[in-house]
């Protein structure tokens, strides 16, 4: 009787991830194909459109820099929602999602930082300044790495999940700071020109490649995220299977 209830409990726990795996297997190929398509078009557009009269060739950096910067923030938002899922709804996949997103977000943030620096050298004459926007993005990068380190350091996922969820939520204050830093403090950095309430103010010449690249990056993020979540689920299964094997193997010799 009790044995039975245990099995059902376990089953309902795992049902969700199992369904997720099936879904992922169905969706991933399509996502991958779409991503590649959008990247092809986006790259073609970004190298064929005209340069800016002010910034010259360097404006092409924008097509990488801006999507990467957006994605770095969006990825953290996804993590924050997952953290809520862990803490409030205790959804079994939420923790997996947060954990899988961290390295991806760190990569996008890294890209935003590097391309921004590479843009800053010709435009501002320096690789780096400690203004609000740049500093807050740097802090975002540190937070991603810190969360990754914490996740790695704690062996037991059940235990690390809640701690890192709390940290993710605390760190979320940084996102509005990044977004609005250009308006709250005067900085060297460009104010928003695409994502604003009164519509984009940017020349459509640049808007098209930017948009296509942004979509491509977003698709890339989702494909990677789903794949990484799948890996994480598999990883947990391997661990629990190994323990189970261990206990059964140990038991035969234990029972006198």
């Amino acid at each position: 009787m009790r044995e039975n209830s245990l099995a059902i409990r376990k089953f309902s726990d795992l049902a969700n991830p199992t369904r997720f795996l099936a879904l992922a297997a169905r969706v991933l190929p399509w996502l991958a194909v779409l991503t590649v398509l959008f990247f092809a078009v986006g790259l073609w557009l970004s190298f064929t459109t005209e340069g800016d009269y002010q910034q010259g060739e360097t404006v092409r950096i924008m097509y990488v820099h801006v999507p990467a910067a957006w994605l770095s923030m969006m990825c953290y938002t996804v993590m924050a929602i997952s953290a809520l899922g862990t803490l409030v709804w205790r959804h079994p996949l939420a923790d997996v999602s947060a954990k899988a997103a961290a390295p991806i977000g760190a990569s996008f943030t890294f890209l935003a930082l590097v391309t921004g620096s590479l843009w800053g050298k010709p435009m501002w004459g320096t690789w780096w300044v400690w203004d609000a926007r740049l500093t807050s993005v740097f802090v975002l990068f540190l937070m991603y790495l810190g969360l990754m380190a914490l996740n790695r350091a704690m062996e037991d996922p059940a235990r690390s999940a809640r701690v890192s969820a709390v940290l993710v939520l605390v760190g979320f204050v940084n996102i509005p700071i990044i977004k609005f830093s250009v308006e709250w403090w005067n900085t060297l950095h460009q104010p928003a020109s695409v994502m604003r309430l009164d519509g984009p103010t940017i020349d459509p010449e640049f808007l098209w490649p930017l948009m296509v690249m942004a979509i491509a990056f977003t698709l890339l993020f989702f494909s990677l995220h789903i794949a990484a979540m799948r890996n994480e689920i598999w990883r947990r299964r391997v661990t629990s299977l190994r323990r189970q094997a261990a206990r059964n193997a140990g038991r035969e010799s234990l029972v006198p």
Partner: protein, 57 residues
């Protein structure tokens, strides 16, 4: 450095990062699947998997 160099290096960094990320995710997945296969070959299966008649993947 000329401006083109800045543009090219940022694209190069972008490509390198993205390719690295994709390779890591794919490689990680392969490794995990190998481990699962090995465990399965050793005759260890999840209890719930048995109950539901196996995995879909």
């Amino acid at each position: 450095m000329s401006h083109a160099a800045y543009v090219l290096s940022s694209y190069a960094v972008a490509v390198a990062t993205v390719v690295g990320l994709v390779l890591w995710v794919v490689g990680d997945g392969r490794a995990r699947q190998r481990e699962l296969k090995a465990l399965e070959a050793a005759g260890i299966r999840r209890r719930s998997a048995e109950a539901t008649g196996g995995e879909s993947t």
